[in-house]
Amino acid sequence: MMADTHFDENGLVLAADGTPLKQSLARALRAQKIRALLLIAPLLLFVTISFVLPIGEMLMRSVQNTAGTEYIPDLMPNVVEEIQDWEPASGEMPAEPVYRALAQDLATAFENRNHTQLGRRFNYESAGMSSIFRKSGRRVSNWDIETDGPFREKFLDIDDDWGNIEYWATIKANSGYYTTSYFLAAFDAQRTSEGIQMKDPDQRIYSKLMVRTLWLSFLITFCTFALGYPVAWLLADLPAKSANMLLILVLLPFWTSLLVRTSAWKILLQQQGVINDFWIALGFTERMSLINNQLGVVIAMTHILLPFMILPLYSVMKTIPPSYLRAAKSLGATNTVAFMRVYFPQTTPGIGAGSLLVFILAVGYFITPELVGGADGTFISNRIYYQFSSSGNWGLAAALGTVMLVVVLLLYYIYDKLVGVDNVKLG
């Protein structure tokens, strides 16, 4: 047998034609690999374009120091250069060269019609800066840089705020291509002349929203588990025919528009709604507030996300033969003991999968909290949406999104350490 095997001088096995066997094998497999790659290429391309690139773009926006589409140092090259010599801690206004540089840069910005965007960018950091930029643009464009100096007095003529040291400190702090200020804002912190500080407690909205989002998502996950487990068990236990019927009922919400379902809850839960009317009919005098608060969000989202808990649970329970419970009972265990020690531990992969699915979906939920959340039931995603659409502060929205992404990945990591992702079974 060994006589058929050929070796080279290093003891490696050679193929029949004398090439090393490994090389020969790789060549034989190459065609297969290329074919496999071609098969997944369309999806790979799609995912790259529609998922990887946008997320990368979003992550970048959270640190890019831009106004509109251009970086601040490109819009204000002269100011950025001159202001390096000025120290906010000195307590004095910047010197004339800085004002002269500002006049130059503002004039160019006005020509290019982006001086208001510059103002808006600095307004995110210090409220009030938007108006002085807007006010100054046209007037500065009429000045002659060579002859009309000194400019400090002229700027102070336009607005006294051009002498505000905090504003100049803001400009200096945000004069780089990249900035941490969006992330600071996402954590309710800000940069002041005394360094990085937390905002006043009554202004800390994002940390509050983040905690609320995580807590409500956890609560919703628990509710779907408490309601879904018995249903999944029933489904797994029933004969196939009736189980299919029930499964369709479970899936029915999937085929109904999310908006319709959420609106239906509005009708049911509102002050003059069906449930409250019934409540009054029972003889109670006070109507309950069931919607436009956290309770409403929990009720509606538990209902909407329930199938995501039931389906993984069901698919795991389906694989547990009834003989395990029978065996436990024949060995002397009561129904409760048999369930707790034999059945329940075997369903943990399903509980893990369902909880992870529901929790991650809940954390990022937007429409339902927007519609039924009222003032105290909105999620972080509603705030992110607001920053994107109404406020136009894409940098902050991106930073909040990034924080959310990191928090979810962190929770996923903790979950992996505690339960083990290998134990997650979706079917």
Partner: protein, 366 residues
């Protein structure tokens, strides 16, 4: 048809009926008594009601009518966990999230037995099935045969007096199955426990059991020791279900001195023993085992009827020869002859005469 009287039986079914849908009975008036220490097998095709009977005994199904008694006491209303019956399941049902030792410890824990005693009993039970070194493994790390042993040890670890087994060897390959058959019967007899064993494999039933209850259509067709069941089947179902079997249809011509003469449908006449026939003119099914057919005329009794046969096929099977003949117009008549030095090897086309002892040929219900 029931064996011992049910008063001194350890397990007794009295007029038990079972229906799942209220329309059809899957078990029809079952009476069965199993004495202490017996290895009884319930044998039958699928759907014959044997597993239902086992489940009723274990407590997972309730009898629609009748009474099941364990050691003289009715157990119809006792839940399964209080019956104290060991059970081995078809797929073993070893708890996958527990180690082997934890699996065995489980019945002892729920009985609130102390830790040291528990460990000792688990060890003894594992040693009993030669699995002493596997306590820390998980069921998935064991082979089918090893899992089977553990399942057996788990069913025995709390020292039940009755053990039920539901086709426990079905998933094993032939060689292992034969080995386990031997081990299970040895263990059961050694420990003196009563065993009720369910299988659809007749060889398994014949090799393992003290007695076999053959089930069909919700009834016990015959309850007997393996040799009686094989050699003296009481009806045509049992004759055809157990072992290989040649059959003819015919009409009884006369019955005298415990012997019958039957005229086959093509006019030939044979001798046989009447079992389910009582008077001339009745239709009957004749059953004769292939290995009881004699091809050497000199070894037959004087005056018995013989049949002409034509050899169609000769198959060499090692220990035996299997020959297919055309007899009385049927060409599926099989005979088996031992591969002995002086045994004749028939050739296709050969014309021979066959016969048998009247005791070996049974006239059953048509």
């Amino acid at each position: 048809m029931s064996g011992n009287s049910s008063t001194d039986a350890f397990v007794a079914f009295e007029h038990v009926q079972k229906s799942y849908d209220g329309v059809q009975l899957v078990v029809k008036d079952l009476n069965l008594a199993v004495p202490r220490g017996e290895f009884l097998t319930m044998l039958g095709p699928s759907g014959s009601g044997k597993t239902t009977c086992l489940m009723m005994l274990a407590g997972f199904e309730t009898a629609t009518h009748g009474e099941i008694k364990l050691d003289g006491k009715p157990i119809n209303n006792i839940p399964p966990h209080k019956r104290g019956i060991g059970m081995v399941f078809q797929n073993y049902a070893l708890f996958p999230h527990m180690t082997i030792a934890e699996n065995l410890s489980f019945p002892l824990e729920v009985r609130k037995i102390g830790k040291s005693e528990r460990e000792e009993k688990v060890k003894r039970a594992l040693d009993m099935v030669q699995m002493g070194d596997f306590g820390n493994r998980r069921p998935a790390q064991l082979s089918g045969g090893q899992q089977q042993r553990v399942a057996l040890a788990r069913a025995l670890v709390f020292e039940p007096e009755l053990v039920l087994m539901d086709e426990p060897l079905g998933a094993l390959d032939k060689q292992l199955r034969e080995h386990m058959q031997f081990e299970i019967t040895n263990l059961a007899h050694e420990l003196g426990i009563t065993t009720v064993y369910v299988t659809h494999d007749q060889t398994e039933a014949l090799t393992m059991s003290d007695r076999i209850a053959v089930f069909d259509d919700g009834r016990i067709q015959q309850l007997a020791t393996p040799d009686k069941l094989y050699e003296q089947p009481e009806n045509s179902f049992v004759a055809q279900f157990i072992g290989e079997n040649n059959t003819f249809e015919g009409t009884v011509k006369e019955i005298s001195n415990g012997q019958a003469i039957v005229e086959l449908d093509d006019g030939e006449v044979i001798d046989c023993t009447p079992v389910n026939v009582s008077k001339p003119g009745e239709r009957t099914l004749i059953s004769i085992r292939p290995e009881r057919v004699e091809i050497d005329k000199s070894r037959l009794k004087e005056g018995v009827h013989t049949l002409k046969a034509e050899v169609l096929e000769f198959i060499y099977m090692g220990d035996i020869f299997r020959t297919r003949l055309r007899v009385a117009g049927q060409d599926d008549f099989i005979i088996k002859t031992r591969n002995a030095p002086d045994q004749v090897r028939l050739k296709p086309g050969q014309q021979i005469e066959i016969g048998w002892l009247p005791e070996d040929c049974r006239a059953l219900d048509a």
